[in-house]
Subunit: 286 residues, 4 copies
Amino acid sequence: MKKELAGNDHDSPLKKKLREVIFGTETPAGRWFDLALIVCIVLSVALVYIDTVASIHHQYGELIYLFEWLFTVIFTVEYGLRLYCSTNPLRYCFSFYGIVDLLSILPSYLALFFPGANMTLVIRVLRLFRIFRVLKLLRYLSEGNMLLRAMMQSSRKVFIFFFSVSLIIMVLSAVMYVIEGPENGFTSIPKSVYWTIVTITTVGYGDITPQTSLGQAIAAFTMLLGYSIIAIPTGILTAEIGQEIGRNRDLRRCANCLKKGHELNANYCDNCGSELEAPLSESTSK
Amino acid sequence: MKKELAGNDHDSPLKKKLREVIFGTETPAGRWFDLALIVCIVLSVALVYIDTVASIHHQYGELIYLFEWLFTVIFTVEYGLRLYCSTNPLRYCFSFYGIVDLLSILPSYLALFFPGANMTLVIRVLRLFRIFRVLKLLRYLSEGNMLLRAMMQSSRKVFIFFFSVSLIIMVLSAVMYVIEGPENGFTSIPKSVYWTIVTITTVGYGDITPQTSLGQAIAAFTMLLGYSIIAIPTGILTAEIGQEIGRNRDLRRCANCLKKGHELNANYCDNCGSELEAPLSESTSK
Amino acid sequence: MKKELAGNDHDSPLKKKLREVIFGTETPAGRWFDLALIVCIVLSVALVYIDTVASIHHQYGELIYLFEWLFTVIFTVEYGLRLYCSTNPLRYCFSFYGIVDLLSILPSYLALFFPGANMTLVIRVLRLFRIFRVLKLLRYLSEGNMLLRAMMQSSRKVFIFFFSVSLIIMVLSAVMYVIEGPENGFTSIPKSVYWTIVTITTVGYGDITPQTSLGQAIAAFTMLLGYSIIAIPTGILTAEIGQEIGRNRDLRRCANCLKKGHELNANYCDNCGSELEAPLSESTSK
Amino acid sequence: MKKELAGNDHDSPLKKKLREVIFGTETPAGRWFDLALIVCIVLSVALVYIDTVASIHHQYGELIYLFEWLFTVIFTVEYGLRLYCSTNPLRYCFSFYGIVDLLSILPSYLALFFPGANMTLVIRVLRLFRIFRVLKLLRYLSEGNMLLRAMMQSSRKVFIFFFSVSLIIMVLSAVMYVIEGPENGFTSIPKSVYWTIVTITTVGYGDITPQTSLGQAIAAFTMLLGYSIIAIPTGILTAEIGQEIGRNRDLRRCANCLKKGHELNANYCDNCGSELEAPLSESTSK
């Protein structure tokens, strides 16, 4: 990362400086730039959101439109600068964040070049794109965090869980469709699948409810099932997170082979068999 | 399994080859066969599902009917081949998967031999049988996996939990029936049981809701109860899964100092520094 | 228990035998008696339940009434026998199960002695009492089980949790009552408390829903809160159950001071300091 | 704390005595004072709550008004005494509990000085303030308890979780707004955010439900997502609580062989058999 920020030696000092501010987070200027950007993103997305409230749109529509363009200009400048001072503009352009950056400014220009009073739907979809700006905030989540690692490690087990749940949902949907039928709101199996998911996840809208006694009995079974099996992903993830926290043992490292992760009461390295130093202090167990 | 696939010595080479492809998963051909079968199952079930949507049925009914028969033929051929090349056809026939295989092709033939415009309900039920095809996918879940083992080991505790919850549900249902009565939707105790399950599992359809103050108080108590006791199966299962993960390590014991619980990738005992044997087989950690 | 079953020396042999069958569970006869009783309880409660379904009552009312009396007679005989052969009839009479036994037969006799076509409500309440029979099944749950112990040990923490949740519910209820007011269904604070509980436990009937923007914002906050804090009792209980399972160490007992519960890799008793025997076998860790 | 209760040497004995009773909890008088206060708080808040029920207000309004003033006088006297005998009245005045104490008596006086038949809303809000009395109960929760510590330590992870969930909610809301649109109840994105939260937390009021097939599919996805990710905060918190429980044992270390983790009621080291020091203070285990 350091190296990437340094770039080629023949880059102009301005380009180097800009790169430090825009891509880096280690200098005060870089941190201020990031903070300002987060504020802009949050405000611009908030604008798109409240603009959809009819009463606000009628009263403040003009003002919101103005601010929309202000943010579009800011993000355009940011996009341009990133392109300019990146050590590898093409790679940035087609990276996930490069595409998000582009998608977050494109709609305003598209709306400008293709106006039209009667293309409401298109404009609605264009506005949706602007909300991708919020995904830029993902950049500020430390990616290598423990949670993600725990989720990755339990992904195979979670997949098996969801596969089994899918089979259960499919069978229950078909059964309910046959029992309740179109006259009670179960107009088709896909609709019945929707009802089963609403029930098994304990959401329970109540827009479709079983009317027959047998249907209610199966619904009750579905609820109890959903209520119980929620324990499974929780159990998996909890066990994994517990393991991850245990990896604070990572701090004990063998001086010979450099392997980390020895338990606190171990005397010898379990990799090369050489003796370990005593644990440094109580604080390592925190 | 291996032995079973080998079968008798006097089987024809074709039969042996077929057996390897259809029942085995170790040869490339066997894996391709399985993959093709999964695709067929998913597509055939999807067809049955979307065919129940009225608008799709009217427009593409003919096409779907055609594909239905295509899949029926494919599954019939598969069933025949399995019968032919199984080392013990009778045992296959009455095994769980044998019955599922039969149930998944039977309805199409039944619908053919017993047509009739006015037997809507029967046809609806027949269609349900076709969905058993989805259960064939169960075959591809590794049965000996950790999740199942953890669930088995906690099954007694979970049974006690569900038994206690059932007692609570029965008492609360009767109480609510007396308090609210038929005029507020609690027309009978079985219906009241349905309401109690809807409430205690936090599904909350809202098709039956308490109207009296006392009823609402008891409903609030029921909700808080359901909200809390969900912790119990989760706790049980989490503890079991944690044990299962820990157990995989316990199998490795140092031959010198007898200390157990070495990690699966350790080479030396972390207590006395002597060399460890290699783990017996990787598959134990799966 | 053993001693209690034995009773006084001058009891008649019949009384002793009866006591073994009725109170004991160690002889085959005792187990058959228990099983028969469970079947009777389940059937009698099921009768009361389905009798409340109007259509069934009209068709099979007479038959159900007959069976009601059959079970009442059976339970009366059981109650009499228990009184007769108990070593301490008075203590049995006022014990929890003694009262449940009485409550489960009393209503039938009360309904007999105080008939009256116009006392529907009283009869409804009397019927409720009959359902207490189901509580007799509690007797068959091993009382000293692990789940209960884990719940007892976490009860103080769970109480603090519910106390905090109650404070949150009370404040949120008052806030919602002020914001939404009677015109949107929040007719009083107690009703608002009901709504808050419906929301925070994620039940969500939808019989009362916020209509104002501010109310919906606070409702959303309430939901997210309820969604998160459910993690707390789960976490407490899981940790306690994990500890309880760890108490399988209970099997290691000091030969000197008889203290149980030494860890599997301990060498000395942590109570009296004398040396411990080696753990018997791997199977103790299961 | 002890020192604070002692105060300056030149305080009058009465002041010292009062301070012990009002702020302290170690003397019997102090405990009785606390208990009486808790009863008063619960009763006074209960009064405000049931007074909002129209039928009760009409019948017992006068009586409730009387009691309201009784409690106001009691809390005023308490506030005065706390101010008088505090070692630092100003600090108390602006402390959290000082403000809560003031807020809980102020509304009654405000309602007295600013009467008016037509200021219903203001009176309603004033009544809300009275409910702050309930927050005084917070004082009786031991602040240094384990639960809070576990929550603090997992707060960073929980924050990352909620940040991620917020991003998901924002994107899903915008998508649903575009798909369903105002004609199906999704009148604006803020309303769509409300729906998404109702769905992802599995509350499911059913006041707004998707009507289009695509909307129902995304709703089903949202439910399954909410159903699964609830496992994450549970996993985090469970692991932390498990650590907290384990940590209470880690504080006890054998002076001879340095082995840590002895149980709090152990007398001898379970590794080398030498005597352990007594635990520093019981309070660490609370």
